[in-house]
Symmetry: C2
Subunit: 234 residues, 2 copies
Amino acid sequence: MSENDVILTAPEPALDQPGKVYEAIREDIISGRLEPSARLKVADLAASYGTSTNPVREALQQLRGEGFVVMEANRGARVVAIDEAFVRDIIEIEVLIEPALTRWFVSIVTDADIAELEAAQAEIEALNFSDPQRHGQLDTRFHQLIYDRHYNRHAADLWWKHREILRAISRRFPTSLSRRVAVLGEHRELIACIRRQDAEGAAAIVARHVEGSGRHIIEQMGVAKRNGPRKRPA
Amino acid sequence: MSENDVILTAPEPALDQPGKVYEAIREDIISGRLEPSARLKVADLAASYGTSTNPVREALQQLRGEGFVVMEANRGARVVAIDEAFVRDIIEIEVLIEPALTRWFVSIVTDADIAELEAAQAEIEALNFSDPQRHGQLDTRFHQLIYDRHYNRHAADLWWKHREILRAISRRFPTSLSRRVAVLGEHRELIACIRRQDAEGAAAIVARHVEGSGRHIIEQMGVAKRNGPRKRPA
DNA sequence: TTCGAACGGATCGTACATTATTTGTGGCAT
DNA sequence: ATGCCACAAATAATGTACGATCCGTTCGAA
């Protein structure tokens, strides 16, 4: 068996509905159970998910189309390799899209929306990064409240896809203290701008927010690399 | 046989290499041989391309991941339906991305690059829209000269994907006279800005250019609809 | 006319065959 | 003895064929 083969523990019986294999593999990639650059053998995956090879093959093709998986002819599939350039590329796109989505949100926001944002933010502050997993969920929901309302489904979906990729990476690293205070501060500022209908201000904060997130991830990737590559964070 | 089944003429023998079926279907979608919302039956496609069903199924899954095809469980695949909202969504994203890519290009452009741009533009002007197909190729090349140099492969690929979708649509409609003069003028302005290292000016022109392109396509879609839906433009 | 069961068709899943790549082994030359 | 090349076996992807399942339609009876 080669160095980076993947073994999933549970045979996970009975996921019959079509599309379920796709969901499962995708979730395993995003959640980090399948690590970046991990080799994906159809036979192994089929065994893991308790189906035959064809659904797995089709799922991998779809994931390839979405950019979660890369394939070489006659050489199989791998989880997409994630390096600094990869993160930077995605962040640069988000720096363009998210402010635009935010501007629109400001123009249609209601008091109820702001209340929801504040509730989400209150939860985030209460949790105070004690549970990284949960924090990720809450943070995603916070921004989702803003972006999901947009009429441009393509843009919103693109954001969502990028968000999931970034989540898959962030998950492997801790959040630095300085980043934590920045996140909380920027969220508060963002809510303030939204309330006072300051679209440009909100857009600017979001741009900062995304850039900071990207910078933080790339820095964490750097220290992880300097500390020696390892399969799992210590 | 239902209203919108698809029959491709040539059995097209011998496309053995893996991935070729994907290429073929994709090309047939982009070139318009497979029209928007056309039903895609794996058996038919397999027969058309001279293979069995599995390669077709995998190709369709990949195309689904890329957004060229939509699938419903147990109900098969269709070419993605293209309406005004669809075009508007894509254009809005491009209005954000293309100016950013252009700014970068201005910062690294060489005399040789400008010469290439002018050569491409000269060809476009010489052709003067007499051959729509050829014009599309030249116009794509013109912009590709600018975007393909960018370090952000994700952004460039995204542009390329959107470009192909838009090309698939535009192909079905004529280019109005006013749009023609606008295109030529904007290209010239763009070159001028690039030469004088005016990144912001270039970005602004590109934004105008993309917006105008989107507006034009949507208008053409409107007149086509008012003239009654038909399979092919008259 | 309406409800329901049978039919036809197409997708989805399983199993198998083929082909390509990789890995391991042995012999040969240096 | 060591390094290199050729060849063979194993491994895994790709292609083909078939059966099962699901959906829409049609035909028939109340």
